[in-house]
Symmetry: C2
Subunit: 441 residues, 2 copies
């Protein structure tokens, strides 16, 4: 054999942890490193730990027997279709039904502008795939959804955070950030935003600001990616009007059945201006050929035969009760100096710790006390968030939530005593994405 | 508002086909163009057309009532798990069962080295994502699977074909190609191969060559991506021993339940050396968070409770009968000068036309005569394949296959008369991927 061919890989024994391919990966793969806190979350999934970390919807509230009957019917009567390959854009009937769902939040859309995706996470992946060259800027709220930040990072985007307060993204900050980036020659590709019941902050962009953000982006030629998994899970009055409802050409809208039905089907979607939609379908086919026909038809059958609006109401009431349990016990139990947001919907509360405390340093001690949360640093691409944590109320029962807060308050009080005794330590450094795996996030 | 911000997008009316974002896409998106022959395949899906184009398995042969009962049971008894988010690597029990399936083809593997993916197409996408920088070389048989070529192209890989004959990939050509590429300074990232019942060629890499290819790649430090969706669908004797069975460190193996069970679940997998497997899981989470727990558990339940080996035997017999129908009628009906491969398994026959004929030019006329095939150019990244076509026998009934061949032979005979009258035309130019959408491919 030719001498020149003989560059055989490193001779690591089979099953070795040595990576024989370490010098072969793509540049984008260098950022793919497992988080150091991930192992902690494995411990946090034990039943004795109250997890305020996860974002798992409470699917047990679904009528499981009915859903079971419905999928059986689907396979036995339409199996030749349901078990076959489908088109890359997704099932046409389901896309019509998705338009009905979006109408609840003010959107008038055509099924032809919808692409069904493997959860809205895949929609994020495909949008990033078609828009982002390495170094391109994605604007995002600070803090923002960790799964989106992970995807942006996988495509080597430069995420720039825009400040938010309890009314959501601050329009003036957005305008200034765009101005400064453009002046520095950066290519801004889109603004990624979760305007309603934001993950992780729990805040909602108010109506006046929605119009301002739309106008700023329209004038600056910045596409908006509006991610709206929680919009129908509001606790007061009618659903908010989405940003997409007021701008069909400037917004790519992402929706999901993961929170209004169940994440186990992995059915989400993107609604996009026509030209972008065309590219999304091609990207979809290149990524997975097509989504599962079976789960798409199951969701379609559920929407067609079950009282899905009533079911969403059930979820809303259930989550409101849990939010009340969380906010109520925070109020009673947390030591002075802690503050938190007060969500009107969705799954999450964002808590700010007293100065000198570092949520990531606290996590191992909290888990030892049988309560878990997600440290704030995971929700920033720039190392921010050390004094913050995300508390979720979607999954545990109210009593467990109260018990979790009691444990967490105890840990924070102890930290405050340590701080007062030993002074403020340096915040821990930020490396990797500090979140649980997707089964918890 | 700031003057500098005012770069608003092109003012295309809503629903316009003008792409307001044409100058914003990533470099990789420029290759994402719908094929010009795609519209033809929409016509080809009409019932009066005999489609020898698609790669759809014949799922009607499944015991649909049993599968229906099984999924109902799954939702009503294990709904809280089946409808929830799952881990990024895939269900642990299913990964064990996948190891049992792979054992039929000589593979000894640990469930921890398996990642469950959204069809094996997604495994291809993730492998490409972690290995390919723009311009990196992927070696592939010529012809090769169109879905793989599409994915490689989406990551801006440089696909270099290696010659094959009726015994599969030619080892000497592989060695020479690697030598020449290395001499030219190219970075070769992996060899993509479908050694068994290849798509589209229908040929199988013989045992001696398997060892040679493994040795060439091992010495050259070239990773092998072995794609094996058809391995259990052989028509004679025992399944072939996979390449992965003889090299656990140098091969990433891709498997799928799309052909042995049903594509509608979208359950495939990758088996990879440990370090690569770790990156695959991170890439998986960034792409879709996790696969559908529901479809994974459905496949697991099917494997646990149904006679799946017997079902594969049923599929094998069914496809053998159809292969016989196709080969038999080609023998009787095709004009002299046509030649074709004789597959011992899988779904496809690769046909070579007499000199001067161009399969893509023939396609519209064939569809007018109510028969469809896939032109050969779709299976080459370099414009080759004009004299070839892929004929699939997996979906139509034997009588329909014979009728399809009769129609196709008529079209080719007419083309030959035209050629003899008017001489050889220039082959049509190649642009885009000349295949049907995933519902047909």
């Amino acid at each position: 054999m030719d001498q020149e061919l003989d560059r055989g890989r490193t001779n690591a024994p089979h099953g070795s942890r040595i990576d024989a391919y370490v010098d072969r990966y793509a540049a984008r793969a260098t950022g793919m490193v497992a988080s150091e806190v991930r192992a902690l979350f494995a411990v946090a999934s034990r039943p004795e730990v109250v997890s305020l970390a996860g974002g798992m919807p409470y699917v047990t509230a679904l009528p499981l027997d009915m859903v079971g009957e419905l999928v059986a019917d689907l396979v036995s009567k339409r199996g030749a279709v349901a078990l076959q390959y489908g088109g890359g854009q997704g099932d046409p009937d389901l896309r019509e039904q998705i338009c009905d769902v979006m109408r609840l939040e003010g959107i008038e859309a055509r099924p032809d502008d919808v692409v069904v995706t493997v959860g809205s996470q895949q929609a994020l992946d495909l949008i990033t795939r078609i828009f982002i060259d390495p170094g391109d800027v994605v604007l995002a709220e600070g803090p923002s959804y960790v799964g989106a930040l992970g995807t942006f990072s996988a495509y080597q985007a430069n995420v720039v955070h825009v400040a938010m307060d309890d009314q959501g993204l601050i329009p003036e900050s957005l305008a200034q950030t765009i101005h400064a980036l453009r002046a520095a020659g950066s290519r801004i590709k889109f603004l990624y935003t979760i305007p309603t019941y934001q993950n992780p902050a729990g805040v909602t962009l108010n109506e006046v600001r929605r119009r301002q953000v739309l106008e700023i982006c329209r004038r600056a030629g910045v596409l908006i990616v509006e991610d709206n998994p929680y919009g129908l899970l509001g606790f007061d009055g009618e659903p908010m009007r989405t940003m997409r409802a007021d701008d069909a050409d400037g917004v790519v809208y992402l929706g999901s059945f993961s929170k209004t039905l169940a994440p186990g089907f992995r059915v989400g979607w993107a609604l996009a201006p026509h030209a972008i939609r065309e590219k999304l379908v091609l990207a979809m086919e290149s990524a997975v050929l097509s989504h599962s026909t079976f789960t798409q038809l199951a969701v379609g059958q559920y929407l067609a035969t079950q009282p899905w609006r009533e079911q969403i109401k059930t979820f809303r009431e259930l989550y409101r009760e849990r939010r009340d349990a969380l906010l109520g016990s925070l109020e009673v139990l947390m030591p002075p100096g802690c503050s938190w947001t007060r969500p009107n919907g969705g799954f999450f509360v964002w808590m700010t710790l007293p100065e000198g405390l570092d949520s990531k340093a606290i996590l191992p001690r909290a888990i030892a006390e049988r309560v878990a949360f997600v440290p704030g640093t995971g929700f920033y691409a720039d190392g921010g968030g050390a004094r913050h944590m995300r508390l979720s109320y979607c999954y545990p029962q109210p009593d467990r939530i109260r018990e979790g807060v009691r444990r967490l308050a105890g840990v924070i009080e102890q930290e405050l005593r340590m701080r007062d005794t030993f002074g403020t330590g340096a915040p821990t450094s930020h490396k990797g994405v500090d979140t649980p795996g997707p089964d918890l996030a």
